[in-house]
Symmetry: C2
Subunit: 330 residues, 2 copies
């Protein structure tokens, strides 16, 4: 910085004013300093600055499971919104292990990120709550339900109504025995289950469905599908509540050579390449992951520019898309 | 830290020695200090420490395109190896945009990561080279070919031999007109092309193949497939050199209702859920992305513990897996 001041022939304080974008700087002064910065290839020590200013213009995104292609889309949506506003994003991956969430929040806090996006592997980890209480910046949850006292904002998906429509479609086709395979009890699993129940209740039908809860993994998808199909009266339709679950379910369905849409109906949650390019294409409850990321990034930016803004919850729609993987029960 | 010293009834310098794992510390002293640390919930200010020690035990991973599911596997392999050794990992995503690579290297440098894993969107960006020259820690490239003067180590995949076997399989089935669709000129695209050429050369066959180069995107995959199939003498087999390219190629193939394995043969690169669960399953040139990540993490750890270790190149195998998407030409 001294070299820049010498080269520009100005005081150190003038260099500092230009670089901190102080309003009381003449255009001529600004040009002289920036020219010297360019010539010297000077790069401000952002970390030392941030220790003084307590700002790094960096956001941390704690991702529960980066192998879910949905997160790539959400991350890209958020990254775009943040980059337009001069923020960079750092990701951590918890590999679906709740114990890692808290550690990642602490790591990002120590790396002094200005704000956090959270899509954690669990919603009830005391270690996570403690780590979050130690974080001073704004936090935006993505499809997670954490205690209100943490003061976080959230971008949620209305899983319930999309799933209600999906189950309604199956019921209207004549299905009564529907099997739903979901993951650990996170918000989206709970909401999907309620959507299922509501669709039956709306039609005054008995609860002739079965819900198998487990992990968001191909192994659970496969073993739950096997369990459902081995029942004395197996379901005529299966709904998979997660991309990893879908993978295992399809393996089992292929191994049994079941024709989707005639011998068994199948609906999954979220559009991935497999649901689109499978033959027949697989019906889905769809949402817009890029938009979810954009809105989450936007909400975080709002809190970063106005620290007095109250926590906010945004709920985005889901939509059922009927496809050839669904037909009347055989 | 003063509170810890007071609570433990020892000098500040003793606390410091225990926390920095200094060898000259008695077990009794160590236990007393760590008990006080636990009781007070003391958390060392890692950033302030790192400014003194110049070490953050954090690694940065610059990912070219996080929407490629292969990266999730590589990242998880690397993260596992690093975590076992007390390192955390931060990811950035360049969205396949070379201009972002250099910015991410700078960001991670400013966040003072100790080392870098790089799978950049380009191999010839002067901005990237400049950013890397400013980075003091070790760098490990993942399947990228950057100038040797940068002194980086690398974990590479032997794409050439796997592709030679794949093309050999098609040639032995009787195919002669083979279309290959690849992305921008990165190492793996070049190597796959050479593998193709070698398979023809080994058999003394004329170069009756066609290679279409473009972006690693579904759009390129689709338009290149359309172009290949619209030719007066269309290829009887197509090889897609990337997951995103495969998506577009399959869209076009499905739209034309071409039966894979009889009307058209198809081989892709890298195992993803779609290649496994497509019907028929799609033949692939396979590699082990977790192992790639593990080896890259291990190489980085080696350089972090021994800064005098010379750069090293590790090449891991690829393997062709024949599947029902390949058959004799119709």
């Amino acid at each position: 910085m001294r070299e820049v001041a010498d080269r520009a022939g100005v005081a150190m304080s003038s260099v500092s004013r230009v670089l901190s974008k102080h309003p009381d700087v003449s255009p001529a002064m600004r040009d002289r300093v920036l020219a010297a910065v360019d010539e010297l290839g000077y790069e401000p020590d952002i970390l030392a600055q941030s220790l003084r200013r307590k700002e790094t213009r960096t956001i941390g995104f704690v991702v529960g499971d980066i192998s879910n292609p949905l997160f790539a889309q959400i991350a890209m949506g958020a990254e775009g919104a943040l980059r337009e506003n001069g923020y960079s994003m750092l990701l951590t991956n918890s590999e679906n292990d709740p114990r890692l969430d808290a550690g990642h929040v602490s790591l990002l806090r120590q790396r002094r990120v200005d704000g956090l996006l959270l899509s954690t592997a669990s919603e009830d980890s005391p270690e996570l709550f403690a780590a979050l209480e130690g974080f001073e910046g704004p936090v935006v949850l993505i499809d997670r339900d954490l205690p209100k006292k943490l003061g976080a904002s959230a971008v949620l998906s209305d899983h319930r109504s999309g799933m209600r429509d999906a189950i309604g479609h199956l019921l209207d086709l004549g299905h009564r025995r529907i099997g739903m395979i979901i993951g650990q009890p996170l918000r989206f699993s709970r909401e999907r289950r309620i959507g299922l129940e509501e669709a039956y209740a709306q039609r005054g039908l008995d609860d002739t469905f079965i819900v198998l809860e487990g992990r968001l993994s191909p192994e659970h998808g496969r073993s739950a599908t096997r369990e459902l199909l081995a029942a004395p009266e197996p379901p005529t339709a299966i709904v998979t509540g997660g991309n990893q679950i879908l993978l295992g379910a399809l393996e089992e369905i292929h191994d049994r050579n079941l024709a989707l849409g005639s011998e068994l109906s199948l609906i999954s949650c979220d559009t991935v390449s497999l649901t689109e390019l499978h033959q027949p294409p697989i019906a889905v409850v769809r949402r817009d992951p890029r938009e979810i990321g954009r809105r989450a990034g936007g909400l975080l930016l709002r809190h970063l520019t106005d620290s007095s803004a109250p926590p906010e919850e945004v709920t985005l729609p889901t939509e059922f898309v009927a496809r050839a993987s669904c037909g009347p029960p055989s």
